[in-house]
């Protein structure tokens, strides 16, 4: 998965997920584990197992 976004959502709500990202941190290129406050993720269409 190509994580190309680096923006963050300034959420007005409590982050209920188990892995909140610190405000202002850059998005990490850690495929599959992306900050929950990003509204858009890019995924390589070749990036899911089970297809030729």
């Amino acid at each position: 998965m190509t994580v190309t976004t680096t923006e963050h959502e300034a959420t007005a709500r409590d982050d209920q997920t188990h892995d909140p990202a610190p405000a202002g941190a850059a998005a990490i290129h850690d495929d599959g584990l992306v900050e929950e406050d990003l509204l858009v993720e890019d995924v390589s269409i070749d990036g899911m197992c089970g297809v030729y």
Binding site: T2, T4, T5, E7, H8, E9, A10, T11, A12, D37, L38, L39, V40, E41, D42, V43, S44, I45
Partner: protein, 101 residues
């Protein structure tokens, strides 16, 4: 193959302009938001909110991008985040500016 990606990598979303879903994109609603697949670039975007889906679906009918955000119920506190999300979609060619009629 022709590219439909926006040439400006630093594009920010100009919400005062009219926008639209790129005709080469298939937008598929999901429970979590939507999937958007660009047939030209073969990239897949994962929209993580139903509100963002509503914004994108409304772009073509609204006079400006900001109008589409408001019509979809984006709150003041969320506006910046939605603008950045739309900028991402513009950069990957999922949405594009439309000619003002």
């Amino acid at each position: 193959m022709p590219t439909t990606q926006h040439p400006d990598g630093d594009l920010t979303f100009d919400g005062s302009r009219p926008w639209m879903l790129n005709p080469q994109v298939s937008l598929r609603p999901e429970s979590f938001g939507a999937l958007a697949y660009h047939f030209g670039t073969r990239r897949l975007s994962f929209l993580k909110s139903r509100t963002l889906l509503a914004v994108v679906e409304g772009l073509g009918d609204q006079p400006t991008g900001h109008d589409a955000c408001r019509a979809a119920g984006v709150t003041a506190a969320e506006f910046g985040a939605y603008e950045r999300a739309l900028a991402t979609l513009a950069r990957s060619g999922m949405i594009c500016e439309r000619q003002a009629s």
